[in-house]
Symmetry: C2
Subunit: 293 residues, 2 copies
Amino acid sequence: MRSLRADERCLLCSLRQAESLLKKFVRNPEKRWMIFKEIFKIMGEMRWGIKPLEVNGAVHKFVMSYMKNEDPFKEEKRRSNALAMELLKFLRDEILSQPDPIYAALKLAASGNLIDLGIPGWTVEDVLEKFHEAYERPFDREDYEEFMKAFESSSTLLYVADNAGEIVFDKFLLEVMKRENPSLEIVVAVRGKPIINDATLEDAAEIGLEEVAMVIDSGVEEPGVILEKASQTFRKAFFELDMVVSKGQGNFEGLYEEERSNLFFLLTAKCEFVAEVLKVPLGSKVLVSSSSL
Amino acid sequence: MRSLRADERCLLCSLRQAESLLKKFVRNPEKRWMIFKEIFKIMGEMRWGIKPLEVNGAVHKFVMSYMKNEDPFKEEKRRSNALAMELLKFLRDEILSQPDPIYAALKLAASGNLIDLGIPGWTVEDVLEKFHEAYERPFDREDYEEFMKAFESSSTLLYVADNAGEIVFDKFLLEVMKRENPSLEIVVAVRGKPIINDATLEDAAEIGLEEVAMVIDSGVEEPGVILEKASQTFRKAFFELDMVVSKGQGNFEGLYEEERSNLFFLLTAKCEFVAEVLKVPLGSKVLVSSSSL
């Protein structure tokens, strides 16, 4: 397996993300200029060999330190959650009536990783068609048999969540899994601090995630879990629970090199880099076992 | 007139340009990483208030210092020149048969600023249609009357050239102007050193530019003339000749704040910034007098 080392594309991608954040939250162009100069100083010190997530995490952490608002995406995340809950009302029965509801719910959760639900003014009608389209696309790479084997032999599960909005579909997936195995004990890990639109404890509470799982925070401030930076609680869960499902690209970047059995990644490959590691085209929907990487 | 001060968009735009250059000419990703870190150090020192061209110029100069090849776009420029000469064979009579050939040749030269002629494998047929399309579009902003008044009262002209390829159409424009006024003495200024696909003395010689004008080099290494960095010869020509036509966005950025009479800019506005200064939509074709800015 090719190791994921940041290259100059990651530097530019992080800068683009910083640009779109700063454009939104810092009005004064001179102040934005000064912040960028500070970012360049940080990047000027980055050593070759670090991971994309470390580049992105360092830049984001720095940019966030300039935001007056502790959680600048709060409104956007709230909108995403509300919209996703509306969407699910339309989709729930359709998924449950499939021959294999777990497979269908996995596809739905991966599709949730693809669509930006936070755009102001978007209605259920606007998104429902896009969502159906995304859902209809099959997985480009999947280890579903292995996934089901792990599921059938597991009594505990750690689910590492990604963004607000899509956590609604994650919750639904976990519900469907619990219908098959009601005694399954589930822990869901969310971010330790607000970072872009990633789900936090507050966002999880908003959609009642505690109804299906124990919710913990990973302690991580990057847009993806890196084990060395995670809390003791998270690490314990990661290594001791029977099965782990990691959602989204950020968590994949952070965890794909970890060695443990029954570790699965559910995501859409949104950047060239991750697509290369997964050997799939850019934009692919993936359910992959770490053992097959 | 709004002054053109670089903001964070210029930083990112220069980085994107550096990325595409380095991707092409530096194979080793670790080396690219190290070069980017150096660029970040340079950008970390840039003070608020400098011009876009200074950002771009500094970055390009640095990137070029890493190229083994003194003129890495040599082949591409040669291809552009050859293709443009082929195109002109098809377009020459059409332009000359227009009711106002000077106006038509100005439009043609501005269209030459829009289309990338250096793409390998492109044939005359591929480009001719695009070229016609670009040519058919009217100027989005023009001071043609003032241009003609200046032309009629001028016996000397400085033309500040931009890219290889399009200089073929610049030469043709100057030919058409000389048909109207055979005693017009023309000086064409090209770049002092290879910079991207900008025309140099060598590129100018390749298309026989000396047949219609005296060719000088501006002494400038940036992708646009900044007067303080130009040679004594260029500055003398800029201030002493009766009329100046500055071609392309780079030269516009460098010269639009200079004060002299009969100074005209012929260009396509390719970035938001320049479009804002010109108060035209992005991608506009423009012939503008400095007195109307």
